[in-house]
Amino acid sequence: MKKFRKPLALLLALAMTLALLAGCGGSNNGQTDDSQTNNGSQTNNGQTDDTTPADEGGEEVEQLTGESGKYTYRSYTGTIAVNWNPHDYEDNTASDTMSYIIDSLYAFNFDDELHPTDVLNPEVDDDYEPYGGYVILPAMAADYPTDITEQVKAEHPEWIPADATEGYAWSIPLREDLYFDTGYHITAETYVEGAKRLLDPKMQNYRSTDVYANPWGIVGAEAYFKQGSTNYHDNGDEGIAFADMTKADDGQYFYNDMPVYIPLDVEMTWLGGTLRDTVDSYGADYFVLDHWEELVALADEEGLIPCTDDNLALLATVTTGNPAWGETEADLPNYVVYAEQMPDGIDFSTVGIYAADEYTLVEVLGASRTGFSLYYSGIQDTLLLVEPDVYDSCIKQDEAGNYYSTYCTSAETSPSYGPYSMTEYQTEKMMHFSKNDKWYGYTEDTYHVYKDPTDGQTYHMYQTTDVDIQQISEMTTAKQMFLTGQLSDYSMQPDDYDQYGFSDYLYASPGATVFFFLLTGDLDGLQTREAAADFDQAAYDLETIAVPSFRQAIGVSFDKQAYCDDVAPSYTPGYGIFGDTIIVDPASCTFYRDTPQAKQVLADFYSVDLASYNNDLDAAVDAITGYDPDTAKELYAQAFQDALDAGYITDTDGDGICDQTINIEWGVVGSLSDARQKQIAWLNDHWLEAVKGTPFEGKVGIVASKTIWDNATWADGIKSGQIDMMLAGWSGSTMDPYGLLQAYTWPSYSYAVNWYDTTKDMMTLNLNGEDITLSVYDWAEAVNGTIVTDTNGVNRVFGENESDPETRTTILAAVEGKILQTYTYLPFINDGSKALLSQQMYYVVDDYNPVMARGGIQYMRYNYDDAQWADYVNEQVAEHGMLQY
């Protein structure tokens, strides 16, 4: 018996271990409960609930509890905000937090039956349908603003150009019942005081630039903010030629009497840092350093070198001698700045914001702003308003003399003038909001009401009484909390799609970014790599990726939907360089991809035969999948011949099969993560499938780059042929596809700059019966409001203020088509996210709108109050072990 003791003990230990692990299995996952519907009870106000221990069947378990009449939205985030000061916040976590405690003068509503029109759309269309878009309504403002440009121009001619007649000065009437939750009464003067604090030079507030850096910023704001300082104008942005500057006796260049320097330590936006840091970082790989130290020695204490011909010659030896940097002397003006000494002692009365009376605020803008743009980005009231008493008490100064503010960094320092007050906050842990009883919106009944499209009833907004946000970093924790009713939403993870991919509670939110295959076309770079000693040209080839037919073939080789299903379930296929959420005319909420111009671009790019769809463009575009294996095979055959003719590849045995493998170096940025490896493996598998039966059968392959690129260098890798291919995308404003266009046309941004010159590719468009010819670059500039000259010598501009949306859309689509035809950017997937919403609540609409989303917290309706929800959850969890989604 004794000899069995040891094995028995081991078995016992093993059994105990297994027993522990066994507890992990056997759930009721995957079962859905169709009995739950979105039709539930609605009651009154409520308070937060909590999980507390309670007896159930003699066993201590955590029972969800809740208060009757309370409606709590419980969310989570990976990173909870630490600073939501409207003057100083820097990230999205802050703006999410601010959204609960601030309000705005004018706000977006769904265009429901109660508010079918607004100042932008005063007429109801025949085809009007509620909840098809949005309207802009006065919220904290008592009415829409009045244009008083002429009046202000007469009083302050220094603020407004003499020829301006409208859109510069706006009078905004305020409600009289506006209060912070501290009891502080909000008047027009409060906004002015807020602006004064925002622009206070000693504070150097991060958000101050938002009200002066744009042409339509508040007049006088920049001069007030920068008073007494030296303003270095980055000539990389200004683009002033040396020929337009004057030279002093000592040889230093001046521009408009302002000295010009070569700065070593001034941040230059086009460079992404300072010249000194850039040269130090890249060294001899990109620059020639023979005279660098000589140049540095010329700098004064501030790192400024007088811009003279001699010093420029020294600089030229650094920046133009290395082909990797690829610049010539023509690029030297980008490296200089001119120094503007800002006057000191400027009074705030010179800034174009003032109180005309207690409840009338006047804003004077630097450029005309009307219509949608006035409300969307012109007034910027939410940046200004702060509670002056609390704000001033939060300003601190450190030992070095720098000023800081702790305003809006805790519950105590976060006065609210929005629907909720912050009642609890703990850094890196949680924040809690409760109804702000001093908010006017809970009492007035014109703006904050809506007609529910589900039941046709009229409701007051903000049924949610409390908002609880926790910092939860682990998705498994969040998921388990969601499934036990302790969270109101859960962001789907890739592993969840099998189980919840078809849930009735799953909501998809498309993003604004289209990720495209980015293909290099830099033949010189490819050939340089092939010439390397360790490259086996007999076995491998790199140049073929520059063959247009090969690039075209790649574009139709992959089933985008299959990729989304297999690798990125929250994403959707992408077809153009602009995604489905891009709005081309914000006033009418017109989606770009819904316009005929945009559809025609896709039909052309994917070579759709309209005749086979009875010339129905909509049907033809709807049928586009971007995946056409037959066409791909034809294009690969064509590419084989093209590459053979060009001498890139060989077919020595004449079997019609490429001798070389087309090795595609995939650009890896940051790290070769598991997700990236999965991505590459999927693409490799499906590419090999696509080339079956073609001369490239078994002869293509994507390999992860040996070089791990970082965010600052990968673009250069593509441009110079060091990276062959990668997945990348430009994110931009949903409302401003025109601005995003410049990412593809500006040489400094364009990835294709070395093989596609937008300034030389001419394009003729017929606009309003007139043929106009401009370069692709100039078309993009013109549609962004820059005056350009066409081939007939006529000045053209098609900016927001000069042209109608239809014309601008036509230009946008034409340029998009041109960009696509370079086959540098092959649209692949559209970003997005999917989340489960708790059975406790529901959205008023299912369809996602990029401006309104699904109504957010203001439109959210509840099936259960917190007490009912707790009962329901406890019952379901006792029965099924978890809630059924």
Partner: protein, 319 residues
Amino acid sequence: MYMVKYTIQRLVYMLMVFLIITLMCFVLIRMLPLPALPPNDPHTEIIALRREALGYNKPYLEQFWIFIKNVFTGFNWGVSEQLYIGRQVWDVFLEKLPATMIVNLYSILWTIPIGIGLGILAALMKNTWVDYTISTLTMVVISVPSFVYAFLIQYIFCFKLRWFPFVMNGGTDYFTWSMFLSMIPAVLSLSFGVIAGFCRTTRAELTEVLTSEFMLLARTKGLTKAQATVRHALRNCFVVIVPGIFGEFIGILGGSLIIERIFSIPGVGALTLNAINARDYNVFMLSTCFYTAIGLMAGLVVDISYGFIDPRIRMGSKK
């Protein structure tokens, strides 16, 4: 006298090591490039001005001198520059420390007696099924990292059995029943490894001591097995165990990044990592200096403690 001289000597060395480590960390963290300025973003100039005002463009040694001077003359660790803009980093650190300390303290309080107790039991019942079971479980537990237990505990006790909340409660009322309950999953997760560690050490030491000749002598003097074990065997094996206990207490202050993350404990573990990611130099330097000082101090305390536990050990003596 030897001890006093030894202690003073060690304190001087400690200060030197502290300064060297601080300088190294200071230079290394500042060598990490600051987040790139977004091109064509008007906020760039504000960021550039802020960096200039914070002295980032000064030489590293000049920055280090200012830092050291502020710390030693006014215990001023500066303000947070990225994570908690404008807040004194010492205040932020103190705000985070209690949660980490309490969770780890609860863990220590019950892991030490259990770990040592199991070790004693295994040693006393050496080569029995009890010993085999404890030893095998100890090996299993020690081999598995604590975050695995964390997920298991959360799944079993919070999700399936619903005995405890998923995450630690918010707020700073650390000594309420509700808060205690919410800490238990984290405490359990931290405990398994520590229990196994103490158990293994105690068993090994005690097993060796129990077979010593002086134990035989103690028994022949007429002491019972229990008396001999408690009075002689345990005392001897504590020479090794007690420094381990000190080490665990030091660990209390360090926290566990992964456990804090899983159970949403607003402690110091995440603070240091966040400071590195965000390039919040002052927060990082405070964390680094704090743990460096604690670590150095712990080494000294452990060394000195040998002398108290076993009078035969005289630190610093050349004899």
